[in-house]
Symmetry: C2
Subunit: 337 residues, 2 copies
């Protein structure tokens, strides 16, 4: 199973992507990773792989891409002039069936635009949604979508998101009848935006869907749904705010331990536990996000993901390939209109 | 300074409100609290005040209200039939200048509707916004609004929120030139909803405002702005999700300590520090939220606030009274059209 990797998207150069790909192929030896980026730099990275990853070398191959998409580059510009970049060449490799999935930690807007052009979408989905798994209480997880690709969406698009998220949870995670919910404001006072109320009525009519109605923001982490659907503006705000809050909380836990002499010892003893938590609690950085609705598999890794975070994104791609996600989406959403 | 208290709004009966009011008047002895609720129950609560609050008795007086607004009651129903409830009588007391501010932990929609009818709004604000202070990194705070009173809002309303939040931060918190930001999705890919982009252009034209442009969700907790403005749907989702995440994180920190024999001792030693954190990190439960834009002062306490949480809401009301917030809003927003 061959995965194409854009190594030049992350904030800290290609090392995290190359080492992440190496860790992934060691974890799943049926994987091959095709690395896109400047040939010389990638060869150097491969030569200097840390000892525990060195055995991955035979599963990694370098594909020279002279240029890269910048984080601030506009999607339209990426479409026009991005042809020789690691991101575009990686996607073209997937489109021409050189690989079965692609992974990038780069500019989300450019990735969305290029992936849509190279791969197209399934079942008349006009534009993919971004979707990631959020950790919930009781060690569960919940798919949240859309995370920013689609703002000001209509009720009909919210229904698309619900159906795509449901297919993902059912086929990729093996949940028999995923509980699907619409994110809404408290039932007190207002009853939500027009699009959400209309989507609620539409979802109640979709026969095969285990639609459980509205959840509020805290319901995402409560584990009360397997798929939570919202406008991309809302999902992006919720996800990024959660990221910021998690970072602040971990800092404060650490600071609390460090600031009192009586707990300084406790703090030292607690450090390994805190380190474990830190990685658990940063869902964005430690899971990949799927571009759901593409006729192909593309995973967005977090821009500041380290090698471990990037390896999860590669393994996520492999998992979606195993479950044949785009074909499932095409089949189940095909009859929606 | 006399504050009117609806004692029947909270999830757990009037004890938290009565004891919270008692704690507040002990902290600020110039306060008097007029307690609204069933006379017999409130007299019992006063007789049975915990010893450390007993000295508050002379600052508390009972105002009999036979009925109450239920959590699931619709605002229209509260307007029509709520006349003899503790919430409506408390607000009428404020409107007739029996008290200078009101506090309730009850049904937000009903509180908004009744407060608007009894007190009206300032400077042609069509509908108040809900606003609370969020803790940020580096021990700062940031006002977030709207938190759910106004969904699907226009750019003009976002500008109102910005101006109201700015007046609050300047006059109540004494910040000379509060940094005001608009919540938006990542600059990558999309540039936000139509209303947000339009509001951005309008805010850049407001001369006296220290408008710093867009922040993403993580910017709320990063301390990069003093006021962050968004649609009520988005703000509500962000706030409730943050509440859910904070609760999950605290549980996990505790569970991490409890689950390994080597860290069980650490966990026991860490318990007081965790307890301190828990209260710090639950902004909603531990601060009141202001109904900003009313021609009067009404603070919403969290429905599940304990006595400490409720006392903060009462003290928040007193602080807004001291700074003459509604008059400031009327003056500064009056010339806005």
């Amino acid at each position: 199973m061959r995965i194409a990797i854009d190594t030049m998207g992350g904030d800290a150069g290609p090392a995290a992507a190359v080492q992440g790909a190496a860790a992934a192929v060691l974890a799943r030896p049926e994987l091959q990773a095709d690395l896109f980026g400047p040939g010389d730099r990638l060869s150097d990275e491969l030569k200097n792989l840390p000892r525990h990853l060195a055995a991955a070398g035979s599963h990694l191959s370098v594909h020279h891409a002279p240029s890269l998409i910048r984080q601030d580059q506009r999607p339209t510009d990426a479409l026009r002039r991005g042809g020789d970049t690691s991101m575009a060449m990686m996607l073209k490799h997937v489109a021409t069936q050189g690989a079965v999935a692609g992974v990038s930690a780069g500019n989300t807007g450019a990735l969305m635009a290029l992936a849509r052009r190279e791969l197209g979408t399934v079942a008349d989905i006009p534009r993919p949604a971004i979707c990631t798994a959020i950790p919930t209480r009781g060690d569960g997880r919940c798919y949240l979508l859309d995370l920013g690709a689609n703002v000001d969406v209509s009720a009909k698009r919210l229904v698309d998101f619900a159906r795509m998220g449901e297919v993902m949870a059912r086929h990729v995670d093996g949940i028999a009848a995923p509980r699907v919910a619409l994110l809404n404001v408290g039932s007190e006072g207002t009853k939500g935006s027009n699009a959400v109320r209309e989507a609620d009525a539409l979802l109640a009519e979709v026969g095969a869907l285990n639609y459980i109605g509205f959840v509020e923001g805290d319901g995402i982490f409560a584990g009360s749904a397997d798929v939570v659907v919202c406008d991309g503006f809302v999902g992006n705000a919720v996800l990024k705010a959660s990221e910021g809050l998690a970072r602040m909380l971990i800092e404060r836990v650490q600071a609390t331990f460090d600031s009192h002499w009586s707990s300084r010892l406790v703090g030292m003893l607690a450090r390994p536990a805190l380190r474990r938590l830190k990685s658990e609690l940063d869902p964005v950085r430690y899971n990949g996000a799927s571009l759901l609705g593409l006729d192909g598999i593309v995973i967005k890794s977090h821009g500041s993901a380290d090698a471990t975070g990037f390896s999860y994104a590669v393994l996520r791609a492999a998992q979606e390939v195993s479950r044949d996600l785009p074909a499932r989406l095409a089949l189940e959403l095909g009859g929606r209109n």
